[in-house]
Amino acid sequence: MSGTPPPPSRPLIEISGLSKQFGSVQALTGLDLRVMPGEIYGLLGPNGAGKTTTIRIITGLVEPTSGWVKVVDFDPVKCPIEVKSRIGYVAENPILYESLSPRDFLEFVASMRKIDKASANRRVTQLASAFDMSQYFDSPIATLSMGMKQKVALIAALVHQPPILLLDEPLNGLDAKSSRIVKDLVSLHADRGGAVLFSTHIMEVAEHICTRIGIIHKGKVIAEGTLDQLRKKTGGKSKTLEEVLLELTNEEAQVADATRMLGEAIFNK
């Protein structure tokens, strides 16, 4: 992994009192979060809860209104280069250079990250083979399916072996085999001391791979812990993560209402 990871006791990502305001919209309201080495932290929450904003602030793409973020002890606002060289980021809808082929694009990324030729070639070859890119490696990215674009973004995020992975819905559009590879890679990354911040709407994925889950609602983490700890908070031992999430975000009643109203609107004359 590039960069020297801090001692195991220190968090790789630390966020305190993070707020972000976009015009009149308060996206984050005093969010606190820590991701330790070896952890896969699942960030779950309803649409618009602030998951993507949190991740984009960690990457240095968005500046917080207040609060602070440390990524391996670096502030993304003051030291964006240090932070960006230590993270592998996959956006929810990866925007890549569409006219480039995956080969051109990965050459660009590897050059920007100053990866030596031998290492870059070895990793790209391994990842591209694993993701079945052989037919698509020289096709313009514009012609690739969403899943293929996601694979290119994943390879680009992993090529420099970063200590931290920020994955915003990384399984979007991926086939079963590739999804499994990503999940295994994420687990492997954590086993080797890396940290993963994983945002997803797929509850089963979060249940299976995340070592800790944070429920984010209206811009702050309202509950945090392992699945069992979250179940305890809602008082139901056999509850699924989906049920836990809906209960913690007070959305169970809304779901019932919405289903009833839609049923009447669509199926009743």
Binding site: A27, T59, I81, K84, M112, S129, Q135, D138, P140, A142
Partner: protein, 540 residues
Amino acid sequence: MKLIDAWHLSRTPYREVVYRSLAEEKGRMWWGAFGKSHFDRERQNDFELTKRVLRIAKFDKLIVAAFCVMSSAMPFTSLFSGSRVLGLASSISLSLAVTFGFTALYAIQTLSSFVSAESSALLSTLPLSKDDFSKITLFSFIRSVDYMVVGAIVSQAILVATLTTSPVATLLMLVASTMNAVFAVTVALWFSRLFHRNLMRGGRSKSGTILRLVFIVMWGSLLLGVGLLLSIPWYIVPHLEMALLGVDQLSNLLFLIIYPFSAGTALANLVYPNAASSAVLIASGAMIGYFMLAGAAAKWSIETVKHVSKEAGVKIARMQTQDFSIKTRSPVLGYVIKDLRISSRNPATAFFFALPVLETLIVSLLVANYQTLKVSAVLVATVTGGILSLLMPLALLNAEGTGLEYTKTLPVNAHRIMTSKALITTATYVPVPLTILGMSFMKQLTSPMAAMIPFLTMLAIASASVFEIKLFLNSAAIGRIAAVTQDVEKLVAGVLIALIPEIAYVASYLISYNHVAAILAMGGTVVVELALALYVLRGS
């Protein structure tokens, strides 16, 4: 569906095409983080952003249409001097040529998105009949060029009506202008499709690269053609005069046959019938041929546009490879290579790569007529080449488009990006000093210092490009998509910075009448500019 309803509905896919092309080419809201202040794209409401893009598109379209109308009217000023026949023939020919160039250049900007059929993706999911779908698609295509085409046709017809007071000539001018628009749009559509197909094909084959180079040179030649027609009417006018007097020589015959000179000749002789009858006959015959060709071109364009949704699935040749090797480079070189790749694959920016060819030709033309290579001629040639080169930074910045969103996640500083773009800009200028150096071996120099001027200007171009990029980034920090006029501001600033050393040369020479002192003054100014540019780079 009624035609009027289809016209109203076509507004939505048209707006989508405009939005995509403008957002892609002027993706400067994504430049924010590299500007002086940190900018969050999210700060801007999406609705506001969309509205602004569309407002700017309309403004750009109006400005370009107004410019096109003005340029198409300019050649008619030659009517006030010299022969009436000659004046009218050359005015009409040049006006048509200029309009053709402008329309084609503008159309290709929006048609790139159009031919990718993304605009019709939504329409294709709606329960529309094939005929209605075709109508809406066709109308959204027409909307892309309506202002400038209608503006040029009407202005040309009004000018001919006013100047000749001949209803027949006016009617024929209307026909010729319409044909001209059809040709321009067809060429733009054809180029856009070829580019799109070439892009979709992908791969790293030599044939693909050669094909792309051929496109670039062809596209650049079209631009050069328009530029030459605008700048050297005095060269064309004598040939036209000869052509009107008879068809003895091959070049004169060609002028009568080649569009748009045939149109000018045929129309002028209708109004003032005193040219050789053979010339009129040949020009009129050629016009009938072009009329038929315009009909075929219009048919092809309509069919192509109607089938644009089917074209969405351009055959993509997937090449199986087990070789996943990549070439890594230094960050600056990596950025240069990436810039060259994305710019050469975009029809709206690819023609900038013909700049070195254009510069060589223009500089050669500018100094070719002099027996002695005068310092004044060298100064004019270097400035002309410099203005062309300084178009490059804006093209490169705009070509980044939405992909820049990804670059912002990489550990790359603004100064690396600026350096790479300044390097490309300076490289495009290299043919200018080399051409002048070559000329200096063939011609006598008024001063040996003259050969040094373009090399010093090259360094001034490097500094000017840095300032131009910095200005762009600073305005991008505000996080707004800018209109085309705001790009012109950056270009003017760049040109002025590149001019300062030349002004220092001229001023020093006027004071001292000594070329050595003048070149020292120029060199000193260049060094100061370079130091400032390096300071700006380091602070970025």
